[in-house]
Subunit: 369 residues, 4 copies
């Protein structure tokens, strides 16, 4: 259990790294949305292996197939199933994993939890399962963007601020980056000088058979005040869950985050002001959320990713019998997963926001007393 996400815009994902394919079923999609497989493919292509020379060279086209829920180019309100077939499966490369546990992977815990596992490529624990999330997120994104018109729509932009110890200067990221700025380099950091350093570092690390982690920042603009369902389903709580449900994530912070713990209230509070006839905050240490509900400001959060667990070095480990052994990483892996995680972070953000929009609409938008 645990493979279903969302309360009203609900996704159910399935599939293993080396099975026939991976997929997702969306239940609750509003009817009448014009959507094509090409629009979904755009996001999958951002996540796809082999897209640049700093990611895994695995060749997977990841072509999405629509199996249900879309008729004559429009969503019908019934479940939408999207499937991506697996390809380029070199299962043999994983024979050694049948018995040995890769350090900091999920081999051991899956074995302990279920008593057996599909060891090929990590099976269900492979980041390949995020294909379904990205496909579903593409639809959620389109709804968020188009339903209010492009000008006032909800726009989500994730990008890298850190790779290893290379950190983009805060002032360089002050504005809301454009998609073009993010996509300008394969590392998806909109500050070009930093991006170049990041790429260099990733290549250097890869040449040593090693890997590095990094940080993604995600900003959302256009969310009106009122989304979020306290006390448990606070908007930031559901965003935190969404992000920590992604492979390789180790941390989440919103607004001031951990740095906020070092401030005084008099420094941290966001004063309200009337700006152009609207209640706005002078600063945004809250990160766009107060009391678990969006306040109309930009939503800003960051996600920490650990370095890729697979490294092309000899590592100590144990096998299924508990005997000490060694494992030499091989295969085609990302030396840094963070650039390819950008569309995944955006997809999960879209899924959370759309779900909350629907919830807010149901409870507070259905009746006028």
């Amino acid at each position: 259990m645990g493979n279903i996400f969302g309360k009203l815009f609900t996704i159910s994902t399935w599939g293993e790294s080396h099975g026939p394919g991976v997929g997702v079923t969306i239940d609750g999609c509003p009817p009448g949305l014009p959507i094509t497989s090409e629009e979904i493919q755009v996001e999958l292509d951002r996540r796809r292996p082999g897209q640049s020379d700093i990611v895994t060279p695995r060749k997977e086209e990841d072509k999405v197939e629509i199996w249900s829920g879309i008729f004559e180019g429009k969503t019908t309100g019934t479940p939408i199933t999207l499937i991506v077939r697996n390809a380029d499966q070199r299962s043999g490369a994983y024979d050694e994993m049948r018995d040995k546990f890769r350090p900091s992977h999920a081999d051991f815990t899956y074995q302990q939890k279920f008593g057996l596992r599909d060891h090929r490529g990590g099976g269900r624990s492979s980041a390949r399962e995020t294909v379904g999330r990205v496909a579903a997120g593409a639809i959620a994104k389109k709804i968020l963007m188009s339903s209010q018109g492009a000008a006032s729509g909800v726009e989500i932009r994730a990008f890298l601020t850190q790779v290893h110890d290379i950190v983009a200067p805060a002032e360089a990221l002050a504005g809301f980056p454009t998609l073009a700025e993010v996509e300008a380099t394969p590392v998806r950091c909109p500050h070009l000088p930093t991006a170049e350093k990041m790429i260099e570092r990733i290549k250097a690390v890869r040449s040593e058979g090693d890997s590095v982690g990094g940080v993604i920042e995600c900003r959302v603009r256009g969310v009106p005040a009122g989304w979020g369902e306290p006390v448990f389903d606070r908007l930031e709580a559901d965003l935190a869950k969404a992000m920590l449900s992604l492979p390789a994530t180790k941390g989440f912070e919103i607004g001031s985050g951990f740095a906020g713990a070092r401030l005084r209230g008099s420094e941290h509070n966001d004063a309200f002001e009337n700006r152009d006839g609207q209640v706005r905050t002078a600063t945004n240490r809250s990160g766009g959320v107060q009391g678990g509900i969006s306040n109309g400001e930009e939503i800003v959060f960051r996600v920490a990713f650990k370095p890729t667990a697979t490294i092309l070095q000899l590592q100590a480990t144990v096998d299924k019998t508990g005997a000490a052994t060694e494992l030499m990483g091989r295969g085609r892996h990302d030396p840094c997963v963070v650039p390819r995680a950008v569309p995944i972070v955006e997809a999960m953000t879209a899924l959370v926001l759309l779900d909350h929009w629907l919830r807010q609409s149901a409870q507070c938008g259905t009746f006028k007393f």
Copy 2:
């Protein structure tokens, strides 16, 4: 909506700061557990206002009343309702809040979301709603501890590692602190020299009418490998949600956390080894969770709290009409909410862990094929 938490051990909380009381109903509690109101009270007393000279002097006894689900001293398996009556309500102190939005509080967002609000003491957005969480968590904690016997039970220990810029030295917190060590000072930092500095800082800040934030670390030992439900309900994802659902939290990290993003894979990976006949990891940068599932190591995570939003200083804000105005904080507030948040963090941790234990037990423990 959003006031129900947990899938199998489900809690539903209700109540406002200045209504008749706050409460919680637990659905799904295993039957036969011996539990008394005194045992629940112990945890509520750790959360209670007025417990020390560094917290709010509000006088609330917070006496728990059992209304259902416990018969002749044992849980019956039916819903358990626990109620704490509100007392010492000086609603008049909040008259100004009827029209003015306190900076970095939820007044504005509740007003925008619902179109009206109970302004007294923050109503439902008050941290007073955590009373129900702590009461329910006390039962969850007892199940986690006692079901396997005290020696091998699941033990949860939260404590402060930081107040403002005062940080406990890592080496001072290497072991698993005892409850007595944590409770030795009102600030709940088990490293005494640091605790003293923290207390001093909190008092200094309070004297200036200001507030500070801080960081709580939570460790859990005794959790066997196998808890956690990927891909969405990863153990760390549900913990992150639980923590970010608490008032004033801005960040969550597990294991290496944000610092892990600065490491290489060769530095970060936790090598498996056979220790005393058990598969263990040599290090614990994973924080006790791999692939969303507990691996048998200590679970370690940290939560960032912002400084208390209420400060006894004049702040700029707007009123319900959008007109600029000022607000002078008054009343009896915590200059630092973090010490009182320790039992709340523990309670939420217990709720998440017990829920996952039940889920793991259902799916993987019911059948032997």
Copy 3:
């Protein structure tokens, strides 16, 4: 578990027959609804013991108390808790039940399921738990009625069509009975001659220490086409669940029901026609629902209730050790529970309908593409 009902308008009930009280928490109630405890009380008074000379003479005032979620006379959108204290508890009357299982009651199954039970008055299995349903249903009813104005609002009317073998003639119930017609007699059958016979029968049966069952029909008008969430959460499926979740129910049928199985398609189909510019059906064997979705016609369903299990006669049974014994029913019981079940059926209907309204509104009413 199993004490939470509804997806968007969610109720969580608790309480035992002889504990301090029973209650309900509603999560997801739309904000801004004016509601008073008196309005809720009206429905509770229809369910209350001692209301007439054909029901149990137990004296319980069942006064509702509002503990949260309503401020200055209006719902705030936060959880609403309603509590009714128990009174007139003669627990001693139930001492015999501690060890003996009453036939066709839930004593045995609760004991088997949970390993222990609150035996007093049936504990949680007592029909007293429906107090919370009726209280929550009163709010749902008001929303259904008032949100579109009284003229076009959704109106729910349940009434008895059968007691024992006394059946109201179909033609006598052709129209939509008024509330006054239903409430004209304590038996709540709007056909007066039948009602009188029912009352007579109930009294006769009671005098023999026996009991009888009956059938309730429920009709709903004003529901527009479009409510219901196939394939699983069909409107009739959720109604069926709601009804079979009530104590003493043994059957549910909608529209033509079991009699429909005896018809041919050419007899059963409801032809569409254009009536006053609206698509309507010429007949209503569908019972207002097609493909799981309301079609704008009157929703019509029936619920079968078994005779009260408690009878004032000596019955064979076993005790907790499995030894054969006898049990003499005593105490103050309804010889026929069906008249008091009328407001309960209406309440559950209201809860189901409102939940589906909110769901339909969220998915199909939030966006225009």
Copy 4:
């Protein structure tokens, strides 16, 4: 929304009648179950069109494909996806349905609810969507049967007791029919003389271009006392929902059902007795469930099906503009859907029972205090 069923053994179904295929994803299946596609196929073949001369002659092989969650012949505990491709799609046959609403079908309500619809073969409202239920149910059935060994496993047997006005004599169905007895004739009534009459009637009705309804009884043996989650998720409530979620169903009754309403308590109560050292009931008017929880007796319920809505006769209806028109049924349809509904009823029963087993196991089987 509404396409997800079950709390712990959760199925999510998708697919339209004339899209590429239909499918189901199971989340929460216990790991380690040996299962083959052939075992699943057995149940699908019982549901398949074209299986006999009294059902629709459509040729659909309905071959199940396993896409995930089963590795080397065993369930892995991760989501299981089963897909059946659609074949023999004569979409052109449905062109008329694009604009006209078929009487007593879901064309009108889907159009009203969603504003658009896939009209081909009823789209999502087609009974073809039950393919996924049957496939998932096959796995649930195997778990129910095999987990306790064949002798003591939970065995589910559904069969026809009525077609049109032909009713099998109660005494002929006193025992628990064998699968062979049920499958002996295509009409699936284990009483041969009745079955022959039913077949004759179905053929006669078909020759007139008409259709008939019927009743299925389902019995379950081997369920221990203790399954069911009052107060809302009573076992019979979840069974009722499961049955009323099936296309063409109009009623559900358990045990004495509607006939029970005509009895006195002294006639209806099931006396407890000690039989072979076990607490049993002398009669079974409760239908195996008391207070919403199984009592260890045979679970017995009945489901009413209306006559097939599609008839090969000219019927009055309206088109999308609301104009009166006529529609001539054509195509290849079942003159009576009830025989093919037998495996579907069994599948839904299995899904409900397994889900409740898991729930009972979690709450009441995890801990010993």
